[in-house]
Amino acid sequence: MNKSYITAYYTDDDDLLKGIRQLKEKGVEIIDVMTPFPVHGLDKAIGLRRSRLSRVAFWGGTIGALIGFFFQAWVFTKAYPLNFGGKPYLSVPSFMPVAFEMAVLFAAFSIVFAYLIYFKLTPGAKPVIHDERSTDDRFLVVVKAGEPGESASIEKALSEAGAEGIKLKA
């Protein structure tokens, strides 16, 4: 698979939004946009899908609650049964707080780790800086370069859309 891509930057957020709309019309595939501050309406302009982290949280929470519940059920009925005030060994209400806490813990950890792994931010990850100026005040656009022959036309489209500092990277 061709992994090359092109980076370019804008100096103004309004120009960025305008430029992105032009690029979209020309069918240029935008991989990512990096901005020094949140730009209103940008997520809609680049057609960003809604984050799927909430689903990770749901399943993480469900698994956590089940583990919390069944672990206690196993401990208090099979592994080490203790009699608390004459209550039955399988006392569902007393398992609830722990099951709830486990749900919260698992949901929180699952979204943190899912986020870190998905964006390759695990310990030892190498920082990727597409353009030095994106760490300052520029609005960086990363687009797909396509096949080797196509990159020239995409670079042309970028400069027509008002972008500067166009660089092809492999």
Binding site: R50, S54, F58, G85, K87, P93, S94, M96, P97
Partner: protein, 392 residues
């Protein structure tokens, strides 16, 4: 956008009056069929408390957002203001029930000639003169503060001066603080003292959370009705989304308080405390368990995803379910103590009286809406409310 005023149509009036007539009919049926004074009084008490609390939360919705200087709710705050018109009416009905023999049917501690040791120890608080004083203070405070907020909101609309906005915030702060104390104490007076031997320190917040989630659900329902009738077209998915979030979060909050109260009593297992739940689980088991399913599981599962909070076809049915569910919640708080399991039941009397109260509440709210322009155009946050946008 021009400032439209809601018109109370003849059709709406007819529907309202027919519902009130059904209520009166059910009441008459209760007397004729000899269902017993306990049951009739407890029903009137339940519904007058329930619908008064909806009025209180209607004004709470306006007040709490005024203090926090939020903008999104401004375009629908007239609904909350109109709902608060019911507060004095609910108070009058409640007072009439108390004065005309209701006290003895509802509250065991009013039978001063045969009080046992425990109730004698509570006489300093649970006595009729002090009870009526508290009743008067609560309703006077609520009615006057709600009236002042409504008036200031109207003045702000006419003059558009920032002075009135600050005044609105001041009164709102008074209202919220007053309601925080009075809602808890009033729930001790009117609900917890039905089972006078029993007590729970969590009770007031439990009742308040129930009031909150129902009140917000009813605001959504009224907003939806207005939208279907062609008014308030500016209320869109974004506003519905936020109300959905409220309903979702407050349902969880209610369940949290329910469980906190239940688990501590279950764990400690002290007879004088567990008798409260023993009564309910043994004789009112259907309503006791359905209470949890309807008020927690259904809103929790149906309103969990972002998309379902944004669709009226999900939010409105859930709001109606919450409205019915918390009526049930109140039923299982009042009936076991006030009526007892032999006489209590849900029949034409209960359903009819509730329909009657719903009709009255609808009439009052629509009347309130028809008196003032539907949107507060000169409110500083009105424009913000129109362009409101929320992601999650």
């Amino acid at each position: 956008m021009e400032n439209i005023t809601f018109k109370l149509t003849k059709k709406l009036k007819t529907i309202g009056f027919v519902m009130v007539a059904i209520g009166l009919l059910a009441l008459a049926y209760g007397f004729i069929a000899g269902l017993g004074g306990d049951r009739i009084v407890a029903n009137l008490h339940l519904n007058s408390f329930y619908f008064t609390s909806l009025g209180l939360i209607g004004m709470f919705f306006v007040a709490v957002h005024a203090i926090s200087e939020s903008g999104w709710q401004v375009s629908m705050q007239r609904v909350g203001e109109a709902m608060s018109l019911f507060i004095p009416i609910g108070g009058i009905i409640m007072l009439l029930v108390f004065v005309f023999g209701g006290m003895h049917h509802l509250f065991e501690w009013t039978h001063t000639e045969h009080l046992d040791e425990i109730l004698l120890g509570k006489v300093a608080y649970l006595n009729q003169p002090f009870f009526y004083v508290r009743f008067a203070v609560f309703f006077a405070g609520w009615t006057v503060l709600a009236w002042m907020i409504r008036k200031t909101s109207r003045e702000l609309d006419i003059n558009g001066d920032i002075k009135y906005f600050n005044k609105l915030r001041k009164y709102s702060a008074f209202y919220v603080v007053f309601l925080a104390v009075s809602s808890v104490v009033s729930s001790w007076d009117w609900l917890m003292s039905i089972d006078a031997h029993w007590f729970s320190t969590l009770y007031g917040w439990y009742v308040f959370s129930s009031m909150l989630v129902t009140g917000f659900s009813v605001i959504v329902i009224f907003t939806y009705i207005l939208k279907r009738m062609g008014y308030m077209q500016h209320v869109n998915d974004e506003h519905i989304h936020d109300m959905g979030k409220y309903m979702f979060a407050l349902s969880i909050f209610w369940a949290y308080l329910w469980f906190s109260q239940y688990m501590l009593i279950w764990y400690a297992n002290i007879p004088e405390e567990t008798i409260y739940f023993y009564e309910r689980i043994k004789h009112f088991d259907t309503i006791f368990y359905w209470n949890l399913i309807v008020n927690f599981a259904i809103p929790f599962l149906l309103l969990m995803t972002r998309n379902s909070k944004r669709v009226s076809s999900v939010v409105i049915p859930v709001a109606v379910i919450i409205f019915i569910g918390h009526w049930m919640d109140l039923y299982q708080l009042i009936m076991p103590g006030a009526v007892g399991y032999e006489a209590a039941g849900i029949g034409f009397l209960e359903i009819g009286v509730t329909i009657g109260f719903t009709g009255l509440f609808m009439l009052v709210t629509f009347f309130g809406l028809s008196k003032v322009p539907l949107v507060p155009k000169n409110h500083p946050f009105y424009e913000e409310s129109l362009h409101y946008h929320t992601n999650y």
